[in-house]
Structures are given as C-alpha cells and as structure tokens.
Amino acid sequence: MTVWFEKQRHLIDFTLASLIRRKGRNLGLLFVYTLLVFVLASVMLYTHALRHEAAVILEGSPEVLLQRLVAGRHDLIPPGYIERIGTVRGVQQIRGRLWGYYYDSVVKANYTFMVPEDGSVAKGTLVVGPALERERGLARDNGISFRAYSGQLFSFTVAAVLPQASELASADLILMNEGDFRAFFAYPAGHYTDVALSVANPKEVRNVANKLANLLPDSRPILREEVQRTYASVFDWREGIMLALLSAAILAFSILAWEKASGLSADEKREIGILKAIGWETGDVIRMKLWEGGLISLTAFLVGFVAAYLHVFRAGSPLFEPVLKGWAVLYPRFDLVPVIDGLQVATLFFFTVFPYMAAVLVPIWRAAVTDPDAVMRA
C-alpha cells in the first residue's frame, strides 16, 4: 500500500515537473478550461435555482384561473359568471381578481395594478412594490399621481412598501383599493379581470377544469401546473439559448484540448521511449499521463465550479444575469436560494473531466506500446 502510494507520488512528481517545463502553454490551457467550466456551471446553477424559485413561489398561486375570451382575446368576466362557477362540484373557493397594466412614461415601465381581495388597502392609498420604491424614489406617506387612460389625474399616498425580500414576485406591483381601481381604469361595476379558484381535491383539478370549460364555453381555465410548466420551459429555453451560444466556445476548446492532449510531439515520444528503456512499464507511462490529465481536469473542474457558485449565489451572477433573466425596466433584485442538483453537477463533472482524460490517453497508448529499444536504434 505504501509502496503503491509512494509510486503514485513519484509519478505525480514527474508529471508535474514535465508540465512546469511548458508553463505558459499548460497554464493557458488550464485557464481556458477553468473558464469554460465556470461558465457552464454558472448557467446550470443559475437556471436550476431560478426554476426552483419559480416552482416554490407558484405553489402559492391559485390552482385554477378562469379567463373569458372574446375573439380569442382576454376579456372581462361579466356579472353572473362567479355564481355559475359556484355550481360546479369540487370548486372550493372562488374569487374575482381585479388587475391591470399601467404604462408609466416617466420610467418607461409597466406596472401591475392589483386589488387585494382582503380589502387591506384603504381608499386613496397605495401599497407599492420594491422596484417602484427604487425607480420612482417612493417611500411611505409620499404622494404620487397617475394619469388614467381616461386622461384624468388621480393622486394617492403610499401606505406601505412591500418587503424587499418578496421582490421576485412583487417588484412591479401597485396594490390599491377596489373602488380606486374601478374609478382609475373606468372598470364597469360587477366585472372582474379573471377568476381564481381553488379545488377541494387536488386530483380533481383537471376534471373541474373540464367541467368549467363545458359550462362556460367562452372561457379558458388555466391550471397552476400549466403555469409552472410554462415557467420551467421559459428557463429551459433561456438556458438552451445560453448553451447554444456557448457551444461554439465548447467546440473551440475541445479542438484546443484535443490538439494539445492528443498531438504527441516528437520530443514527448522520445521521452516515453527513454522512460521505457530505463525501466518504466507501459502501465507506468499510462498511469503517469492519467495523473496529468486527472490533475489538470480536476483542478479546472473544482476551481470552475467553486467560482461559479460564488458568482451565482454570493455575487448575484453579474456576468450573464440579463441573458438568463431577460431584461426589464423594473428589474427585480433578488438573491437566489442555492438549490444544487447533484445529478447536474455529476453530469458536468463527467462531461468535463472524462473527455480530457480520454484525449490524453489515446495517443499515449499508441506511443507507450512501442518497443523500448527504439531509443538505442535512433
């Protein structure tokens, strides 16, 4: 055991001494390799955490949303619909939601105006999202006016600002009183934007949605799981775009690494011949080269991954946040909850470490099985 260990240490000594001889080239390769792992790992960690974030937040969202459609477009829910929905078996809780968009040409951003069902916002006041606090410089008890689509000017006071920790879900929100909402948007009385409902038995969600679609043919039920799926797809799609852009870089690196690792120079061939002549076995030469490949790829993987972790979860992934999140005027600022998928890390490990080791090994095998007397004949 100690002999084995000592032998491996000798082989590592030798392979490191050989690597140091071509310091510039090898460090350059290591740097590019590390950078590649870093970028790949960052994309993976970021999208996975964001997907998880979306999944958790949306668990709180309504199980079924019902929209009324006119000519294939979203329309208001007229009076009487909510009562009719109440007759469907399995529906537990029904509430008409009131929400709408407002474009603020001052900051050139869209706000989402919304009425909380519990009536917690008093008349004439607003509860605003953290992005608004930041973009418009709003604080508690400040006054703010919006010109409604009708042209009329409305003034409000800010009653509260939503907590910064909820920014991912609430950045652009403006919560207001129902009366204010209807007046501001000239919303017809008794009408709602859409209907949110919960279902008693989670297994019945699909059935209830089907019954609703039959009962109200002009409406469309949207299931929570569909929304969650759409979000997962959106992030997959963004991750895909990022990886597609990266694939060129991956390819370029593969060529570089293959060329470096598999192209055995005449010098290296001669060295292997010498080693064999002075008593190294073919296996020793291969083990030595395996250590070389292993040390380089393991170092690149570990440094790249740790850097990616710090980049994504400690530094807020400044490098490609816009690509993965999308740009927006009211950019939510949030810290991701680090959820790491072990399988993903293992995949990354496998696809970065093993190909390199294989690339190192292939030509060595060919060179190492040559006759040791070649050095004498030369």
């Binding site: 100690t2 002999v3 084995w4 260990f5 000592e6 032998k7 240490r9 000798h10 082989l11 000594d13 030798f14 001494a17 050989s18 001889r21 010098d267 060295e271 010498i274 080693l275 064999k276 002549a277 002075i278 008593g279 190294w280 076995e281 073919t282 296996g283 020793d284 006759d371 040791p372 007397d373 050095v375 004498m376 004949r377 030369a378």
Partner: protein, 224 residues
C-alpha cells in the same frame, strides 16, 4: 551469468527491407567483469546489447540470465528484470530535457515506489561520487557533455543494478573526458560490477579496465 545461444535478430521481417542484424551469436558473459563488444558500425553490437539488456527479444535463439531463459518472457516481466538487473548509459545519454540532474537520476526508480527520502539520499550520494553534487539542481541541457554523461551514469546506478550497459560511451567525448570515463569504469570493475559496453575506440578497448574484448562483424562474432 548471461548466456546467448545461437541468437538471431531480424528487423522488418517478412518485408522487402528485411534485414538481419545478428545472424547467430553464441556468447557467455561472466559476472563481475568488464566486457567490451568491438566492431565497425553495422556489425550488430548495439543490437546485441539491446538483447542482453532485455530491451528487445531475439527473433530466434535463447538468452538466459542466471540460467533462466528470458527470451520468451512477456514485456511486463522483461521490464521488471531490466529495471532490477540492468543500468543503461546510452550513446546520446538520453536525459530528459527540462528536468534537473537530480530528477533525471531518480527517474528509473520511480516505478519501484521506493521512499522519496531514501531515493534522494541515494541520488545525492551518486552525484557526489561522480563529482556532480554542485550541479544537482541544474537542468540537464545546461550541463556540458561530460557532466551529462556522468548524470547518465548516475541514473544507470540508481537502482543498484548488477550489470551496467554502455553503448559507445566515449563517442561524444574528447580524449580527456574519455579518460575520465575510463577511470570511472575502472572503479566499477574494482567494486565487482558487471559492465558490458560497445566501442570501437582504442582508448576504451585497449584499456586495462576492460577484461575481455569480443570482436564482431556483420552480425557474427569474429574469433581473434
């Protein structure tokens, strides 16, 4: 100690450029003696040296070491025998560039897994004996020809082999350095090491350090 019986060696056998380097050699090499193989270039002496040193296998015939037939052994065992029994000094020295003298000397012992400390002490002692202690951390390509050869000799001795094999050891040395090499050779003879070398340098083959000279020509031994 080493016995060769009707040993033949062909290169590129079965091809149009087939070439017989050795065409039937029978020879016994005694232990603890310095044996020189003498002959013009192309006489097959280097090829014979590779067969004796287990670097290659004969096409036909038998090579035995201490009475054990080694000509048919698989490469793994040959390598082990080579490492334990033989130390090589090549004509071109064949040192590994970019590594220090010290590292080069230790190289053949790496696969044995001997403790680093022990190995370093032995390498230091060898370099010291060959008056190279002050150059031990120098890269080998910065050393002079004579120094490089002494590093090669130290490397050949690191595993403490029974037999030292030297191929044209003085071919790249001037007279003064060649004499120095012969002095080292003499000390090996005195300490009872078996040395087998090839040379056509009169300085070597006519030296008192050499106990026996075997003449070769066209792949055969020529009786004097």
């Amino acid at each position: 100690m080493i016995e060769l019986r009707d040993v033949k060696k062909a290169f590129n056998q079965g091809q149009h450029n087939e070439y017989w380097a050795l065409s039937g050699i029978s020879l016994t090499i005694e232990a603890r003696r310095v044996t020189a193989l003498r002959g013009p270039s192309g006489s097959g002496k280097t090829t014979l040296l590779t067969l004796i040193g287990c670097l290659a296998r004969p096409t036909s015939g038998r090579v035995s070491l201490h009475g054990r037939d080694i000509s048919g052994l698989p490469e793994r065992f040959l390598t082990e025998i080579r490492r334990k029994t033989f130390g090589f000094v090549f004509q071109q020295f064949n040192l590994i560039k970019g590594l220090s003298a010290m590292e080069n000397v230790m190289l053949p012992a790496y696969p044995t897994g001997r403790p680093h400390r022990e190995l370093k002490q032995r390498a230091e002692a060898l370099l010291d004996r060959l008056r190279l202690a002050h150059r031990r951390d120098a890269r080998v390509e910065w050393l002079s020809g004579g120094e490089q050869q002494r590093v090669a000799i130290a490397r050949a001795l690191i595993n403490d082999p029974e037999v030292l094999i030297a191929d044209e050891p003085t071919a790249n040395l001037d007279t003064a350095l060649a004499k120095e090499f012969m002095a080292i050779l003499e000390s090996f003879g005195e300490e009872g090491r078996t040395v087998i070398l090839t040379s056509h340098d009169p300085l070597v083959v006519e030296s008192a350090a050499v106990n026996r000279v075997v003449d070769m020509r066209d792949g055969l031994i020529v009786e004097p």
